[in-house]
Symmetry: C2
Subunit: 671 residues, 2 copies
C-alpha cells in the first residue's frame, strides 16, 4: 500500500486559483494567511495522513470495532491519532486562540478534511466529530460547559458525538422520545444550580464513535424532550451528556480550579459513570473502522445531562451544526471517490491488456497490448470519476468560502456596527444574507451529489480493475463499501430532496434560487467570450433555464394539487439541480484553465493534436501545467456532453405530472 489517494496539485488549484480564497473581500480569517502558509497546512495534513492514517486503512476495515465488557474496542492507533490531532492543534483549529485554535476558515479546514478522509475515512471521523460537537458547546454552551468539556475534547482525550437518531424516530426527529427531567436541588450530589441539570432517559442508535477505548471519555451532544415540552420539533432541547461525569468538577464555584485541573490533566481519575450503556455496535457494509453504536441513557435513573442554551431550541442549534456536518459528509464522499479514482488511475496506466483500435487495422495482433487507460471505454470511466470528485471538491470549497464570508461579515457587524453608516450597514447585511442563502440552497447539493454520484464513481473505479476490483487485493472494493453510507447519514437523499425543494427553493419567495442564477449567469457571461467555452456557456444557460422552468411548473403543481404532489419527486429535482450546480463548477474551472493557458495566445485548445505532446507551446507554461489545464477543459467537456444532458429526462419526468409514485398503493406491491 503505497498508493496516492489525493491529487495535491488539484487541491491547491481549487483553493488558490479557482476559489481564490485570497481575493475574497474583507475576509478577516484570512488575514495573516498567504498561499505559502496555507500550503504548509495542507502539506502537514498530507504528511500526517501518509504516516498515520493511510497505513491502517485496510487494517481498520478488516478488524472492525467490537463490544467487549461494555466498551467498544477499536484499533489501538485511534488513541495515538486522536492525541496527535489534539496536540498538533487540528481538532481545535476552527476555534479562537484562547481555546487552542487558530480560527481556521472553513475552506481550509474542509480541504484538510478532504486529505484526512481520502487517506482513511473511518479514521478521520473521530476527530471531525469531536470538533463538531465542541463547536456546538462553544457556540451555545455556557462558560461553565465550555470550561468543563472543551479542553479535553480539544486535546483529543475526550470524544465528541452527535446523538440524534432514535430506534423508532429515525429521520423523523419530531418523534423523538428521549426525555429529560429537571433535577431538584436535593437530588444533586454537589452544589450545582438546579434547572440546568437534567436526568436523561432514552435510547439512541447509529451514534458514530458513540463509545470506544481510544479516548478517556465520550461527550454526547444529545437531543431530548424536557418533560412537559410541546410535541414535535418545537419541544426538543440540546444536552451535553458525558459517558463519565467528573464528579469533583461539577460545581460552578470550582470553575477556576477546574480549568487548572484540566490543564494539568490530573483529575481524570475522579470521574464517575454517568449511566450511559452501549447496547450494540453495528456490523456494517463499510466505514468499518469507526464504531456506530446503539446507546441507552439512564437505565439506572442516574444519567445527568446539562442543558445547552435555552429549552426547546435544541433542533435549531443542531441544525446549524448539521449544515456544516452535511458539507463534511459531502467532503467525505468526495475524498473516498478521489482515493478510488487515484487507485484506478494507477492501475489502468500500468495494466496492459487488449489492442488499440487506432493501430494497425488489418492485423490487430501486430499491435502490442496497451495499458488499458488507452481504451476509450476506460478513459470514459476515468473521466466520469474525475468529473464527479473534482466537481464536488470545488463545489464544497465554494460553499465553505460562503460559510467563511458569512461568519466574517457577522463579525464585522458585531464589531463595527456603530462606526458604520446606515448604507454601509445595509450593504453588509445584504451581502451576508446573499452568501447565507447561497450556502443554504447549495448545502443539500453539496451533501448529495458526491454521496449519490460517489456510489457510481467508486463503482466505476472498481470496474476499471476488472475481476481484481472485486477482490480485497486492491483497495477499491473497500472504497465502494465505505462510500455507501453517505447517501444515508446526516439526512438521507430523500430528506435532502425535501429540504431543497420544500424549503430552500421556496424560502423568501425564491430569493436563494435567484441569487444562484445570478452567480451562474456571471460565469456564463465570462465563458461566452471565449471561443473554446462559448458552446458550453450556451448549454449552461439552457440548463439553468431548465431548472427555473421546472421549478415554476412544480410551483403551479403545488398550488393546484398540494404539497404531496409538489414534493413527490423532490429527489429527482435535487438530482437535476446537482447536475446544473456541478456543470457551473466545471465551467468555472475551465474558465480558470483557459485563463492560465491563454498566457500563450497561440494555444488553441481544441485544434491541438494531443498525441504529439512535446511541443513548442511549453515555452510559456511548463508542459505538466499545460496538460493539467487542458485536462480540466476536457473533463469539463465530458461533463457537459455526457452528464449534464441527463437533466433533460429529469425535466421530462418532473413536469409530466404523471403521479405514479402517489397513485400506486401498498396493495399493488403486495398482491
Amino acid at each position: 500500500m503505497a498508493g496516492r489517494f489525493i491529487n495535491m496539485k488539484n487541491l491547491k488549484f481549487t483553493l488558490h486559483e479557482l476559489i481564490d480564497i485570497h481575493k475574497t473581500p474583507n475576509l478577516d480569517p484570512f488575514a495573516g494567511r498567504n498561499k505559502k502558509s496555507i500550503d504548509l497546512v495542507l502539506d502537514a495534513a498530507l504528511e500526517f495522513s501518509k504516516k498515520a492514517l493511510y497505513p491502517i486503512f485496510e487494517l481498520m476495515d478488516r478488524n472492525p470495532p467490537e463490544l467487549k465488557n461494555g466498551t467498544v474496542a477499536v484499533n489501538p492507533e485511534v488513541r495515538n491519532i486522536m492525541q496527535t490531532l489534539g496536540r498538533d492543534g487540528w481538532i481545535a483549529a476552527p476555534f479562537p486562540e484562547e481555546w487552542g485554535g487558530e480560527e481556521m476558515p472553513a475552506s481550509i479546514l474542509h480541504a484538510v478534511y478532504f486529505i484526512f478522509a481520502a487517506a482513511n475515512y473511518s479514521a478521520s471521523v473521530y476527530s471531525g466529530l469531536t470538533t463538531g460537537a465542541a463547536k456546538l458547546i462553544f457556540t451555545y454552551g455556557s462558560d461553565y460547559l465550555k470550561k468543563t468539556f472543551l479542553p479535553s475534547m480539544r486535546d483529543g482525550k475526550w470524544q465528541g458525538t452527535m446523538a440524534l437518531t432514535e430506534p423508532e424516530a429515525g429521520s423523523s426527529l419530531g418523534d423523538l422520545v428521549t426525555s429529560a427531567r429537571p433535577m431538584q436541588q436535593d437530588e444533586l450530589s454537589t452544589d450545582e444550580p438546579a434547572g440546568k441539570i437534567f436526568l436523561i432517559s432514552g435510547e439512541k442508535i447509529f451514534i458514530s464513535a458513540g463509545d470506544h477505548d481510544g479516548v478517556d471519555n465520550v461527550v454526547h451532544l444529545l437531543l431530548a424532550r424536557i418533560e412537559g415540552s410541546p410535541a414535535g420539533v418545537k419541544g426538543i432541547s440540546l444536552f451535553v451528556v458525558p459517558k463519565f461525569r467528573p464528579e469533583n468538577l461539577m460545581s460552578p464555584k470550582n470553575m477556576n480550579q477546574a480549568e487548572t485541573s484540566y490543564q494539568q490533566s490530573k483529575e481524570y481519575t475522579k470521574m464517575v459513570g454517568n449511566d450511559v450503556t452501549v447496547t450494540q455496535t453495528f456490523h456494517k457494509l463499510g466505514y468499518r473502522g469507526a464504531p456506530i453504536t446503539a446507546l441507552s441513557f439512564g437505565d439506572k435513573g442516574d444519567c445527568w445531562g446539562w442543558l445547552v442554551g435555552e429549552p426547546n431550541k435544541g433542533l435549531s442549534y443542531m441544525f446549524q451544526m448539521m449544515n456544516g456536518a452535511r458539507l463534511e459528509v459531502g467532503m467525505g464522499a468526495t475524498s473516498i471517490a478521489s482515493a478510488a479514482y487515484e487507485a484506478a488511475l494507477d492501475y489502468t496506466k500500468t495494466r496492459k491488456q487488449g489492442r488499440s483500435l487506432s493501430g494497425d487495422k488489418q492485423n490487430k495482433r501486430k499491435n502490442q497490448p496497451v495499458p488499458i487507460i488507452e481504451h476509450p471505454d476506460v478513459k470514459r470511466m476515468l473521466l466520469f470519476q474525475r468529473s464527479v470528485w473534482e466537481g464536488s471538491l470545488s463545489l464544497i470549497l465554494q460553499c465553505s468560502i460562503y460559510e467563511d464570508i458569512v461568519k466574517s461579515l457577522s463579525r464585522d457587524l458585531m464589531k463595527n456596527s456603530s462606526d458604520l453608516s446606515e448604507i454601509e450597514l445595509i450593504n453588509i447585511k445584504d451581502e451576508k444574507e446573499k452568501y447565507h442563502l447561497l450556502l443554504e440552497l447549495l448545502t443539500p447539493v453539496a451533501k448529495t451529489f458526491p454521496s449519490e454520484m460517489g456510489i457510481l464513481s467508486t463503482s466505476q473505479s472498481l470496474q476499471c480493475f476488472g475481476g481484481y476490483g472485486y477482490c480485497e487485493d486492491f483497495p477499491v472494493e473497500q472504497h465502494f463499501r465505505d462510500m455507501r453510507i453517505h447517501a444515508i447519514h446526516e439526512g438521507t437523499t430523500g430528506i435532502q430532496g425535501m429540504d431543497i425543494l420544500g424549503r430552500k427553493v421556496v424560502m423568501q419567495d425564491g430569493k436563494a434560487l435567484k441569487l444562484f442564477c445570478h452567480e451562474v449567469e456571471k460565469t456564463v457571461e465570462k465563458a461566452l467570450s471565449h471561443k473554446d467555452l462559448d458552446s458550453m456557456a450556451y448549454e449552461m444557460r439552457q440548463a439553468l433555464k431548465t431548472v427555473t422552468d421546472t421549478t415554476q411548473t412544480l410551483g403551479i403543481m403545488a398550488m393546484q394539487k398540494g404539497a404531496e404532489a409538489f414534493l413527490a419527486n423532490a429527489t429527482l429535482y435535487l438530482e437535476m439541480f446537482g447536475y446544473v450546480v456541478i456543470a457551473w463548477q466545471w465551467l468555472s474551472q475551465s474558465l480558470m484553465a483557459v485563463k492560465k493557458l491563454s498566457d500563450n495566445p497561440d494555444i488553441s485548445i481544441f485544434n491541438t493534436d494531443y498525441s504529439s505532446s512535446d511541443t513548442k507551446k511549453s515555452d510559456v507554461i511548463n508542459k505538466s501545467d499545460r496538460l493539467f489545464y487542458e485536462g480540466k477543459i476536457m473533463v469539463c467537456r465530458y461533463f457537459f456532453y455526457h452528464e449534464l444532458p441527463k437533466i433533460k429526462h429529469l425535466e421530462y419526468t418532473l413536469t409530466r405530472d404523471i403521479p405514479i409514485t402517489i397513485s400506486i398503493q401498498t396493495d399493488h406491491f403486495t398482491s
Copy 2:
C-alpha cells in the same frame, strides 16, 4: 431470517401468461409438460431453496472459503447441496434421459436458477457451473469423455468449471498463454491413444469453484494453446483437465467397465493427482460463499488434459457455452435484485416513520406515523426496483424461449429434413435463424441490463432501510455486495458493449436489429389499440426510432472515422438498447395485464380511485389478481416515464461526435 426472496406469482405469470411457453409452436421439449407439471418443478425448486439454500445465505458469506493444506474448505452444506441436486436430477435436468436428465427446456431451467440464486446466489453457482461444464462435454466431447466425466458431474460428486481467464490476458482471450503439448505414446502410463491427451502448463485466475472440499473431484473445461497453433483467438483449444485423473479408468478398452464402476461409485479411491495446484482463493467484496481461485496447471510437468472436439476450435465451443452463461449471469443479477426488493418491501410496509403529506395539512402532527411505503419517495424506490428485476426476468425468459425454439427447430431439421418439402425446409431454417439472431442480439442486453441496473436496484433496496440497510442486521447489504460481480464476470459491461455494437448489430447487414424492430412493432401495434396503453405504445415506437437513428449515425461515423470512433461509446449504446428492450418487455407485460383485466369491460384502469379498494370490480377476477395486474401496468408506466426517457441523453451523447473519450490522453490524467 424467514423472509421471502421471490414472488412466485410473478414468476408463474411470466412463464405461463406472458411468455406463454405452452403456445410456442412446435416446441417438442414442451411435449408432455403442462402448466401443472411445470408448476410442480418450480414449487419443488422453491421448497428446496427454502430448506437448503436460504438458511445458509448469511452463514456462507460470514465464513468464506479458505485455502487449507492445498484444498479450499467451503461450508460443509455444499456437499449435501451438490449431492441432493445431483440425486434429484437438477444438475442433469437439461440432458437427455440416457444421461439422467429430462431435456428440461432453457426457459424452465432458467426459472429454476432464478429461484435458487434468489435464495442464495453463492450456493447456486456450484451446480450451475457443473451443468454448464457438463454441457460442453456433452455437446463437443467424445463418447469416451462423456462416459468418463459426465456421470459423476451429473451426480454432484464432481464439480465442473470454466477455466478461461489468465493473469495477463484477462478479457483479452486471444492473449492466453496456457500451453498444451501432445503426449507421445511412450509418455502415457496406460494405453490411451496419443493425439488426444496433452500435457497442460499454465495459470488461470478467477476460476469460480475452481477447487473445494464439497466434491471429490473438479473437472476444468480449460482453454489452452496447442504448441505451434496460430496466435490470437484462432489458436485456442478446449481441454478437459480434472484435478484427479482416475488412473484405472483411462483406457478406452475399459470403457464399459468404467461406466459400470461409476454407476456403482466405487472406483474413486483409484484416482491420482493431476498436477493442478490451487495457489490462491480470492477474498471478495461479495459472492463470498463460492470460492474464486487461482490455479496452476502442470507445475511438475504431469498435468493431463483431454482435447475436446477439434484443435483450435476451443473458443467457438466456449462461446456457445458463454452465451448461455451470460443469460445465467443476467438471471443471477435478477435473482439478487428480486431478493433485495422483497426484503425492502417487507421492511417498508412494516416500518412506521414520518407523516403523510396528504393527511391533515394544518397540523401534520395530528396524523399518525405511517408505514414508510406510503411516502412517494419510497414508492418510487420500490417501483424502480420492480421495474428492473421484473423487466429483466421477463427478458431473460423471453431469450430462453428463443433458445428453446432454436434447439427444437435444429432437431426438427436433423430428424425430418428428408420428409420436408423445400419450402417447409426454408421456412424452418428461416425461423431458426430469426430466433437465433434475436437471441444473439439480446444476450448482451440480458446479461448487462440486470447486472448494471441491479447495482442501482440493490442500492435502492438498501436505501429503503435507512441506516439499517448499511448494517449486517438485514440482508440487503449482502445483496448489494453479491450483485456487484455481475457487471464483471462472463465479459465485463465494456466487452458486452463492443459485442452488441461491434458484432451483433452489424452482422448480416443488421438483420438481427431489423428482426428485433419487427418484434417490438408487433407489440406496439397491439398496444396502440388499447386506450390505457396507446400513449406508451407511441413512446415505444419513438424509442425504437431513437435506437435505429442512433445506429445509423454511428454507422456513418464508422465509415468516416473508423472503428475506434464507432465503438468509443459502445457501452452507452448498450445502455440505450437496454432501456428500449426492457420497455418492450414492460409493454408486453401491460398488454397481458390489460387482457386479464378486460375480462371485466367496466374496468377503466386509470380513472380509478385506488385508495378505496374494496370495490365491485372484484366480481370477475378476484381482488388480489386485479391488484396484481393493475400493479403491472403501473410499474410499466413508471418505467416509461422515469426510465425510458434516459435514452434521450444517451442519444445526445452518442450522436454529438465529441470524441472526448478518444482525444484525452494518458498525460492529461497524470499531469
